[in-house]
Symmetry: C2
Subunit: 324 residues, 2 copies
């Protein structure tokens, strides 16, 4: 079994070895740029760790693993454009550094480049992985659409929110794990359990993101604390607060949300206090724990020795104890 | 052999039978909308006609044929957004009817839906078609990038222009024809000649588009005559005019191009007269003829009976005698 560090090295090597056409530069330079910004490379690592449970030689799987990482970065590129975000990982986003049209078209070709990585898979496995990848890709778009729809809706339920983050964030993790298993000829049942493991882990991961944005440590959290509160982002916390409050306290929350002239720090402090008082912080932590345990239960059903699951369990535990 | 009308019916049936998820509506309705606007469906028809040269049962090929049509419409959707075009086939473009973000995200998922249609191909053929499709898709994006790059460049050469339209327009026709041949187990040589046939035909087709925009019959041409002239679009005509003129006449052309207050009709009339006088109309017709003959020469090399090539030759001739 490879260590997480060894697997990460395989991923980085493959990404560095990625040869894009030299021209037109306006099309391909933004792809090199966004891939160079780094990131945890968690998705391709999950694919390789999953495959490593069934196979020792991981070389046939690094190209498909890269496909998932390129796809992930494609979604970041287009999401940042749609969300009009200026920064990504402390650097200018593509549409800021270049322009909107560049972000659209470079993103498009990036999605194609992801599929080109899949084409390295042998015919038998390709016909299993291609539909899995495309279904995931469509679902991630659906999740982004729901997320945007929620911006203009006041009545989003907790169930709708959980479904949105399942689509936008979690199915990609599930698909990476399932793809790794299928590529390494795992039994279909194992592949399905690994998918479930990834989806539950992904939901727990996103709930933690919601929490960290409010309660994270400003010295270690990569972004400014309270960003979601400032822009009224419909998170698990906000949705549950709005759905559970007395008329009176809800009005207080609404007045902060509608206030155009309030200072960000005051709004963040007030809403954070409110979240803690009414118990949505606890509720979010509970749900995070539920999904994390659900993930571990799915992993437990996978029919390989515990020793071969150790790396995946370690990553899951690390993700849940992260502070950024 | 199926007639063109029979093949068109197969394409339309398959497009109508396309089942997209019902929700989220903001994501999938724009796809149904743009596919409902019609179009000549020339690309999937070319794929099926190519396959029909080698196979009588076309049913295995209608899903992949649809993939190419959906891809084509995806490029229209994103190109219209990048070009800020208000109308497509006499109707509002997606970003006008909805908004920019909808056009970005619906386009993205449309590209994924195209790949989902490819997943219906059996494993052996899939591993040939997937790289062909992705290479074509990347090249079409490259062509669009060059087209946008040309907008801000004054020194575009004829060779660069021909390469741009090869990428943006022609390789898609070539890939359709090659895919049809490969799917129906044509010899590799035939598949390559059919690709060349499609690429040359596509270049001739685009040169005719450039001509029709200026010299088309206003009563049959779908769009307003002179649109390319009004917006200084770098066409074969404009590029050759600028590269061949005496300093004096070039200044006249430039003054029309830079004139912000000129009436469109006057600008169109003046530039059209100039094109005819200096012979770029003739030059464009010559090049169109050269590429059309090159296309027929490639088709002639395909090793099937002439009777089985009749449908494809008919389509090529129709495309070259169109008036819209």
């Amino acid at each position: 079994m490879r260590t997480f560090e060894e697997i990460l090295r395989l991923v980085d090597e493959q990404l560095r070895a990625l040869v894009l056409p030299e021209n037109p530069k306006g099309l391909y330079n933004p792809i090199e740029y966004i891939l160079s910004l780094g990131g945890k490379r968690i998705r391709p690592s999950l694919l390789l760790m999953s495959a490593n449970m069934y196979a020792d030689d991981l070389s046939p799987y690094v190209a498909p693993a890269t496909a998932f990482e390129i796809f992930h970065n494609f979604t970041l590129l287009h999401d940042d454009l749609m969300d009009k975000a200026d920064q990504r990982r402390g650097q200018s986003t593509v549409h800021k550094k270049w322009n909107d049209n560049t972000a659209i078209l470079s993103g498009d070709v990036m999605l194609v480049v992801a599929y080109q990585q899949l084409a390295h898979i042998d015919p038998t496995h390709l016909s299993k992985i291609l539909p899995l990848f495309s279904k995931m890709a469509a679902e991630v778009c659906e999740g982004q659409q729901y997320d945007m729809d929620f911006e203009t809706r006041a009545d989003v339920s907790q169930a709708e929110y959980l479904e949105m983050i399942r689509l936008k964030t979690a199915v990609l993790l599930g698909a990476c794990l399932k793809a790794g298993a299928l590529l390494a000829d795992a039994p279909q049942e194992d592949a399905d359990y690994l998918y479930d493991f990834g989806v539950s882990l992904g939901i727990a991961f996103q709930l933690m993101d919601d929490l960290l944005d409010v309660y994270g440590d400003p010295t270690t959290f990569g972004k400014k604390i309270g960003g979601d509160i400032v822009c009224n982002k419909k998170t698990f916390l906000l949705i549950n607060a709005r759905n559970s409050l007395s008329e009176e306290i809800r009005k207080e929350l609404d007045s902060w949300m509608n206030c155009q002239t309030c200072k960000p720090e005051e709004k963040i402090a007030a809403v954070t206090t409110l979240y803690s008082q009414i118990g949505v912080k606890n509720l979010c932590e509970e749900y995070m724990q539920i999904y994390f345990e659900r993930a571990l239960a799915s992993l437990a059903k996978v029919k390989v020795d515990d020793i071969r699951k150790k790396a995946l369990r370690g990553v899951a535990e690390n993700l849940m104890s992260r502070n950024k």
